[in-house]
Symmetry: none
Subunit: 196 residues, 4 copies
DNA sequence: AATGAATGAGTATTCATTCAT
DNA sequence: GATGAATGAATACTCATTCAT
C-alpha cells in the first residue's frame, strides 16, 4: 500500500503544478521536483505525463461520483437531490482547488484509452444530474429551457469557479451552493413574468 | 490597410488553430501553415506567438465592449440592459466560436504588458456587468447572493459554453440568451420560498 | 539543387558516423557535429534519424542497381555477367566503405515504409544475381548447391568484407573480385572429385 | 553449480533478446524479463550488460574451439581437416542461431578487457583455419588468392548465414557444409580456365 | 512582403546501474 | 538470492525565434 500512498501524493503535487502552470506548460521536471523525486524516479510510479493527468481526473471523478451516491442516499425529493448534488460538487471543488482547475481546464488533453475512460465517467456524471432535472421537470414545467441545456448552464456556474473563486473573499462553499441552487432552481421554475 | 486585413486573417486562422489544439500545444508552424504563410513570413506580421494571442483577445474584447455600448444605447431599464448584454455576449460567442474558446481557455497565458492590457479590458467588462446588477439590486433585494458572486455565476453560465455548445443541437444564441436571462434574473429575484 | 547537395553531404557524414559507432550507438548529435550543423539544423534536412539511415541505404541500392544495369549492358555470356556483377559490387563497396558497413550491418533497423522500400530494392538486387546464376545453371549443372543458397553464399563472401577488408593489406577491389569470382565459379562448376 | 546453471540460462535468454532486437536496442529490462528475473535480480548474476554480452561470445568461442579440437583429433589430411572445421562451425551456428547472430553482428561492441579476451579467441580461431589453408597451399598452389583473403572469404560464406539461413527452406547444416566446402575448395584449387 | 536556412534552449522519455532491505 | 525504489546521464526530437537575402 505504500506505493499507492506515494502515487496519491505525487498526484496531489502534480495537480498543484498543473493547476498553477497549465498541463502543457508544466514540465515533468517541475512535477518531479514538486513531488520530491528525481525525474527518473517519477517514472517509476507513472508511465508518463498523460498517465498522471489521467489519474488525477479519474480519481477526482471517482470521488465525485462516490460522494454523490452518499449524498443522495435516502433522499426522495428531486429538489432536495439537486441541492445535495450542488453541495457535494462545490464542496469537492472547494476542497480540491487544484484538481478542480485541472478538471475544468485540461479535459481535452487526454487521448486514446485515457480519454475514453474519463469521458465515460464524465458522461455518467452528467446523466446523473440530468436525471434529477428530468424528475424535477415532471413536476414543474421548465419554461423554455430544454433539460440538456439547463444541465450545462448549471455546470457552467459551478465549473467556472476555477477562474475566480477565492474562499476568503467569496464566502464558504455552502453559501455558494446556496446561491447556485437558488438561482438555478428559482430561475428555472419561477413565475412567468419577470419579477418587478 | 491591406496589411491590417492580412493581420486580421492571420488572427482568424490562428484563433482556429489555438481553439482546436490549445495555445500551448499549437505550434507557430501550425499557425503559419493555416495562414498560408511560411514560418518566417508570419513574423513579418506578428512579433511572436504571444503577440498573436494578445491581439486575438484584445480584438475580441474591443468588439465585445463596442457591441455592448451599442446594445445599451438609449436603454434605461436595468433588466432590459442585462438582457441586451447577455444577448450581445452570446451572439458574439456564437459567431466567433474559435475566439470564444481561446478567450475562455487561454486567459492566463499572457504576461507583462499584454496581460495588463487585456486584464484591463476584462475588468472593464466585468465592471460594466456589475454596474447593471448593482442597478438592479437597488430596486430588488438580491436574496442572499452578493453582486460580485452573481456576476461570476452569470459569466460561468455563458463562458462555459465553449465546452458543450453546438448550435445545431442546442438552439440559436437568441434562445440560449433567453434561457440564461430567465434563469439568472428569476433566480436572483424570484420568490422567497422554493417554488412548488 | 543546393538543398539536395547538402543532403548528400549530410548522408555521407552520417554514413561515416554510423559506420564507426553503429547506428544505435551513434547519437544524432554526433551526426550533426560531423555534418557541421547544429542539432536542430540537421532536422531541417532530415525528419529523423531513421530517415537518414533510410536515405543512405536507398541511395546506395539505387546506385548499385544503376551500376549493374551499366555493367551488364551488351554482355551476353552469363559467366561474363557474373564477373561484371561481382566487379561492380566490390568496386562500389570499396569506394563507399562507410555505406557498405551500414548496408551490411544495419539492414534490420528500418521499419514501416522505410523497411518496405529498401526491402524491395534488396529483393530486386538478389533476384538480379539469382537470374544470372539460373542462366549459368542451365548450361552447367550446379553440383549439389541449390541456386538460392549459392546466391547467399556469394553475397556472404562479398558483404562480410566490412569486417576485415583493408585495401592496403588485402589488395585492390579488382583483385578481390577476381578471387571471389574464381572461387565461386570454379567452386560451383568444377570437377566432381576434390582436386588433388 | 546451481549458480552456473542459472547464469547459463540467463545467457541463453539474453542471446535470444540480443539476437532479436540487437545488443544496443535491447534493454537490460528486456533481458531480465526474458530471464524471469527482476532488474536488480539480474545484477546478482551479472555485473552489467556488457558482461552478459562478453560471456555469450566467450562461451561460444570456447565451445567452438573445443569442438574444433575434437573434430580435428586424429585427422591428418588437410582437406579433411578443412571439411571437419566447416562442419563444426556450421553445426554450431545452426544449433545456436541466437548466439550466431550475436557473434556475427555484435563483435565490435565489447571494449577493454572484454574485447581483448574475445579478440584473442577470435584470432586464435582464425589462425587455426589459416593454418589448415597453409597446409593445403603447400600441396596445391592457391591460384591468385592469398591465404589470408581466402580465410575471410570462407568466414564470409559461413557467418553471413545469420542474415538468411532458414533450416526448413535451405536444408540441413550438413548439406550446407557440403556446399560451402565444395565451392571453397574446388574454387581455390580447381583448373586454370573457367569451366565450360 | 516574404522566405530558406539555421539555432539555442527546452521537452518527454529511457537507460544502465545501485543500494538498502 | 532477490527485489522495490530510486537516480544521473543520455537520447531523439520540437519549438519559438532570427537573419541574410
Amino acid at each position: 500500500m505504500a506505493g499507492a500512498d506515494r502515487k496519491a501524493e505525487i498526484r496531489k503535487r502534480a495537480a498543484e503544478v498543473f493547476a498553477e502552470q497549465g498541463y502543457d506548460a508544466a514540465s515533468i521536471r517541475d512535477v518531479a521536483r514538486a513531488a520530491g523525486l528525481s525525474l527518473a524516479g517519477l517514472y517509476y510510479y507513472y508511465q508518463g505525463k498523460d498517465a498522471i493527468l489521467f489519474e488525477i481526473q479519474h480519481e477526482a471523478f471517482r470521488t465525485l461520483l462516490e460522494q454523490h451516491a452518499e449524498a443522495l442516499a435516502g433522499v426522495k425529493e428531486p429538489q432536495q437531490k439537486l441541492r445535495r448534488v450542488i453541495d457535494a460538487h462545490l464542496a469537492f471543488f472547494a476542497g480540491n482547488i487544484a484538481e478542480m482547475k485541472v478538471m475544468a481546464r485540461e479535459s481535452e488533453q487526454l487521448t486514446g484509452k485515457f480519454a475514453e475512460k474519463v469521458g465515460e465517467q464524465r458522461r455518467r456524471y452528467v446523466r446523473l444530474v440530468r436525471g434529477i432535472l428530468d424528475e424535477i421537470a415532471t413536476h414543474h414545467p421548465l419554461r423554455d429551457v430544454p433539460v440538456p441545456v439547463a444541465v450545462f448552464l448549471l455546470f457552467g456556474m459551478m465549473n467556472w469557479l476555477y477562474t475566480w473563486y477565492d474562499p476568503e473573499r467569496d464566502g464558504s462553499p455552502e453559501r455558494l451552493a446556496n446561491a447556485v441552487h437558488r438561482i438555478f432552481l428559482h430561475g428555472l421554475l419561477g413565475g412567468g413574468r419577470a419579477p418587478e
